[in-house]
Subunit: 433 residues, 2 copies
Amino acid sequence: MKSMKVGLLGLGVVGGGTWNVLRRNAQEITRRAGRQIEVVCVAVRDVAKARARIGEDVCITDDPYEIVNDPNIDIVVELIGGITTAKALVMLAIENGKHVVTANKALLATHGTEIFEAASAKGVMVAFEGAVAGGIPIIKAIREGLTANRIEWVAGIINGTTNYILTEMRSRGLSFEQALAQAQHLGYAEADPTADVQGIDAAQKLTLLASMAFGIPVQLSRAYVEGITELNAVDIAQAEQLGYRIKLLGITRRRAEGIELRVHPTLVPANSILANVEDAMNAVLVSGDAVGQTLYYGKGAGEEPTASAVVADLVDVTRLHTADPGHRVPHLAFQPESVVDIPVLPIDEVRCAYYLRLSVNDQPGVLAEIAKELSNAGISIGSMVQQPPDQGEASLTFLTHQALEKNINQAMLAIEALPFMRSKITRLRVEEF
Amino acid sequence: MKSMKVGLLGLGVVGGGTWNVLRRNAQEITRRAGRQIEVVCVAVRDVAKARARIGEDVCITDDPYEIVNDPNIDIVVELIGGITTAKALVMLAIENGKHVVTANKALLATHGTEIFEAASAKGVMVAFEGAVAGGIPIIKAIREGLTANRIEWVAGIINGTTNYILTEMRSRGLSFEQALAQAQHLGYAEADPTADVQGIDAAQKLTLLASMAFGIPVQLSRAYVEGITELNAVDIAQAEQLGYRIKLLGITRRRAEGIELRVHPTLVPANSILANVEDAMNAVLVSGDAVGQTLYYGKGAGEEPTASAVVADLVDVTRLHTADPGHRVPHLAFQPESVVDIPVLPIDEVRCAYYLRLSVNDQPGVLAEIAKELSNAGISIGSMVQQPPDQGEASLTFLTHQALEKNINQAMLAIEALPFMRSKITRLRVEEF
């Protein structure tokens, strides 16, 4: 049978991994796919360097448009990253009737709706398993494995860098800065770690997961995003004492009023399965009304784990490219005409439990006044712990029952105005799942 | 678009769950599949009872052949269980050009090769996600999500009944008989628990996983199967003291000499992810050369979790039924012509670490003689623990390094012949993953 001809844009970490895996496992992959998947051309910045790496028998170009416009190429694999050039290349590939495989979450979370519409109109596939949680087949699980379910919520550790930093902060007592430096030293964090530590990378992935779970358009701009840069060792230790660990979670949940879409540090019970996903590992927990909770765990980044997802997409496209486009798996899990614009709730309307840590003057009546303000805002206290006072300062930590975020904010404002308060309240969200 | 017409054989636990899920989530499922999936006829033993349950607007028959021969039906869902009648119905459905969805692991592990061949020849699909690990989409993960990988091994907790029993034995100190009685009382174990507690159910599932992981024929008869009926509280406690938990694992591994295919109680490190899969939950750990280790976790049985898998299969078949049969996902992950009959190794040729517990007379020189026999058989000791002697009897527990099972057997024979031995050696296998 005729081989599938692939053009590879980029030979960096994931591009190089994809090249290696396709070469090394060529026989195994052909036994599965039923035909050979062949990289016929690679576009890179430095042709000489690429030539030294991958040899003489493949075309190498420094012009990615040469690949996107090559009539012999069936599938374009976009692994150059970034948004502007990547978008132009992907849109042109679609226009030229080529299928696209990409691991570019920033591109899809920003322009996914437009890209998927163009692909549907042209009858080509845009596959993106590598865009979320590396080699874990979570997109396949949600789009295909759980189709029977009304999905209720998805909660995931979908950024390995921050999970590594949080693991080190908790287990070895490092500060955020120390753990970040160590992550950079080990190659888990980039020189500019902003997208990871501020939660932006996780929000891009979560946005895609939410669209597929609930059949809503891709809308990164409506996600609430809070990173881990403000977390300190006191709260990590205090959480542990209360039986919790702090994880940077992406959470999306269907509520009667709309969809919650939020990334933030979250207290989860220390004996829960998500709490025990440590180091740079990723895991996504999905709750469906029929199946209950299922979890998907593995490496969320890296050369070959991400390449594993890219190549799985190549096999999928190879299998499905002769199928009637109307019967392929829809890009966002639901048929395009039945994607519904359910509103994404602002963070004020989110409901969860809260961790509140207060520094107060050690004087009588403090607890009563705080409890009164919480009660005024309709917030019910689950538990409270007081640290022994130190130099006239007492530390109080509250775990509340479920409450609306705007009510918590109202209570915090009122409490912070009280005369015995020493500093701003530290507020973290809590999920029990 | 024309709906897909489904005939349902059986309205028991999984059949009833499938009916419920298809009804309750009809709208959500149609939004995904792009067309309605409609149960048009149900075959049951007791028509009146079924009529009372599912109402008047669906055909109900007590003759399953009526469904299998009905030219209006596109997909037959076989949920009656057992092997003989189920096989006849499935083969006839295939002959009649219908797609088949089944959760019948006993049927497929026994007659899978024949059934899949018939289906391939006829150009129809036999989908069986519900046959392994309930609602966890593990078949999809192995057949599609991990296609880039040379899979190295699969290890899973794929029987919820025994996992529940082992959890209760460890956490509450129950005997096997007590834990089994409790499992039966709670509906986790059947009145005749043989297939579960003797490891047969797990072996059926493992056999299917092995075929898909390595591209080998289905061959249940070559699996090594050891259940949990002989496990006692002493070994569970002793394992815990050594930092291990005992799980009934299905393990299949590719080695240079052939394929390991085995179900047995296994010591796994207490802090490993498999050790912490408790109660009736299932989890499958897959190691691939590109992706590394990925884990899939959820409920492995029950009405709606298994129905979740059956309905996902219905959606898959609905999506793929217009596709060229040569491009569908192969039944056993690899194209039929490239399934290779790699030999399955007999248990004698399996290699792992071992736990050996010995009761001996408390006298000098015992340890030296045991160590000599282990050394004669080429077995290296990792660690040894001795319990304080009690009434002249001492208990010694060894953890060996990796060894061939036949060498362990040879050493055990020699040691059991020594005069100071009080009883047979308790031998368990150990895996670190």
